[in-house]
């Protein structure tokens, strides 16, 4: 079996450790929320870096050169594809 060196992992943004980087895979939410996220720079296919992810409170990310604080509830509905090097 050919084990690939990199493993792709799709996780909710709320579960990503600080410092991790990935590509936004999908966002679940109403049209309003999607529009807000797009306007702030967070669209499917964008690279996102997790700056802070404390055990409670908003998740802080860097997207398109901008820093955003995203409420935990919303962060659970943003799926991110993270590349992990083995």
């Amino acid at each position: 079996m050919d084990e690939s060196k990199e493993e792709e992992c799709i996780l909710p943004l709320s579960e990503l450790p600080e410092g991790s980087r990935g590509i936004v895979h999908a966002t679940y939410g109403g049209r309003g929320m999607l529009a807000r996220l797009s306007a702030m720079g967070l669209t499917v296919g964008t690279e996102v870096t997790v700056v802070q992810n404390p055990f409670v409170g908003p998740v802080v990310v860097d997207v398109r050169g901008v820093r955003l604080a995203i409420g935990r509830g919303m962060a659970t509905r943003i799926m991110v594809c993270v590349k992990q090097d083995k």
Binding site: T43, P54, G57, P58, V60, R64, G65, R67, A69, G71
Partner: protein, 657 residues
Amino acid sequence: MEITVALAGNPNVGKSTLFNILTGMHQHVANWPGKTVERREGICKFEGHTLHIVDLPGTYSLTANSVEELIAREFIIKERPNVVLAIVDASSIERNLYLVAQLLEITDKVVIALNKMDLAEAKGYGIDVVGLEASIGVPVVPIVARKAQGIRELVERTIAVASGTEKTKPKLIRYSALEDAIKQIKALLGEQTIDSYMPDWLALKLLEGDPEVERFLKEFLPDEVWRKIDRVRNRNERAPILIADARYAWIREALAKNLRKPPKGVITVTDTLDHILAHPLIGLSILIVIFVCIFWLTFKLSEPFVTALDDFFHLLAEWLEAHLPFGSFVKGLLIDGALAGFGAVASLLPVLIVFFLLMGILEDSGYMARIASVMDGLMHIFGLHGKAALPFVLACGCNVVGIMSTRILESERDRLLTILLNPLMPCSARLSVMAFFTAAFFPPHLRTPIMLSFLLLSLLSVFIAGVILSLFVVKGERMPLLIELPVYSIPNTRTVFMFVWHKVIMFLKRASVFIVCVSMLVWLLSNLPAGAPMHMTFLGMLGKLLRPFGELIGLDWRACAALITGFLAKENSLATLSVLYGGAGEGFIESLRNAMTPLQAFSFTLFQMLYIPCATTVVTIWLETRSIKWTALAIAYPFLLATILTASIYNLATLLM
């Protein structure tokens, strides 16, 4: 030439700074008609041209999701300014251009002001401005607003575009997958402009599912046409995502050869600071410390000015008493009524100025966004958004300002709940009364704990009221937190100054006239019928009416009368007490101590802190909610809460002693 310029841009890009530079003091704040959003307009004269500059609300987008966005786009579409000046933060240019993309969907008379060039350079970005201009097709002028650099060229090119001397040729956004759908809808719309809206734009908005455009066209178009349009939309459900992608693709192409990004992994000062300041627990603790410092500083720094003003007004009153050629009744009305009112307003001013100065510094440094982020969890308990913390903080200066600042909240439900809870926050007037009573009745070593207990009881009330109101009264979905955390920067003097200026003007315009009139009214109530002894005046009789109620909370009729006048304006209660109990200065404190026990004083102070918003606040609540029902609730529930809390504490303490 007269030109109308609309200023558009994301929040935090320095739009206000630019607006202030361009218009100086020739600016005017009003409301957008029918809305509670601020409209700032100003004049800029440049080489024979007059620019009427309209500062549109800062928005990330032009959807129908918020009042601000609607206002911004309606202004551009309906009022047709000669040119739209889009301010873009060069240090986050990629995201900022999303709004520009949407602006170009509406008009091609756009000039981009590329601000914060110094910050972009510091971050490690390299921008080829000339190349960018060629790629996008509209003028791009680099500026550093806070240093007033590049402004001349910006104004020149803005005028050039507005007058037609310079023609723009913006690069079109390609919606490839949706081209067919757009064509179909345009055809259904008859290829014509409807009510100033271009068919291209309408088609795009319909595919995006814009509720305002939907609502408007559904009424306007015949049913059959609408059904056909709907079918096209249903065939293109992913349209909103595709449209957003198309805009970002346009941005990517425009930036491709013109933007050099810094290497990743650079730790900035903002990163380091945010590790503590934006941390949920540490950040919250630091926030509390900062708030305490702000309150302490506010009262400490303003004290000398307040004392000086007080002395001045006393001297003035004495002089007028001796020199005014009127009878004693009229003199009383003018001096002890009107002048006293002016004096009360004047004494508040230094406190407010210092308070808003500190707030302005926090806001311009970028820290306010962290406050919203750190407070989000706590606000969650009341079903509120983190941003709601800010109006509560401002309310401690003046409730009126706090309530007016609820405009920053995006959800109507959040606004309503924050407005209703706002008056429970002690404003500077109430804090002055509290400080006075604490000093008069308690020995120095007890003063700080007593004042802290008042503040804690206030916060407890906000908590209780918040939970009850959000569970039973103000229903609705909570909007999740999504805010930008701007880079920390040194506050700009001009911006902070204008911030303070606007807030103080807000207070003066709304509250001051009221306080003066009310002061005169109170004087009349306590001096009519003429010649009557204190307890037989109108005020006295009102106070006596409340005696049974007063007994509940341990207050006599004089204190009750002071509560009545305190409704009109908080600063009046002290004045009324002084009139009713007699004496002034030290003598007044003597007579108070003879008339009340410390427990009763505590009871009075607690009650007056919570019981009712002052009359100006009530008017403001009505203006902001436009609803009698909510205004009535805003008066009734604090009264109930104050009574229950004060009565419990008073009677319990009496039992235990």
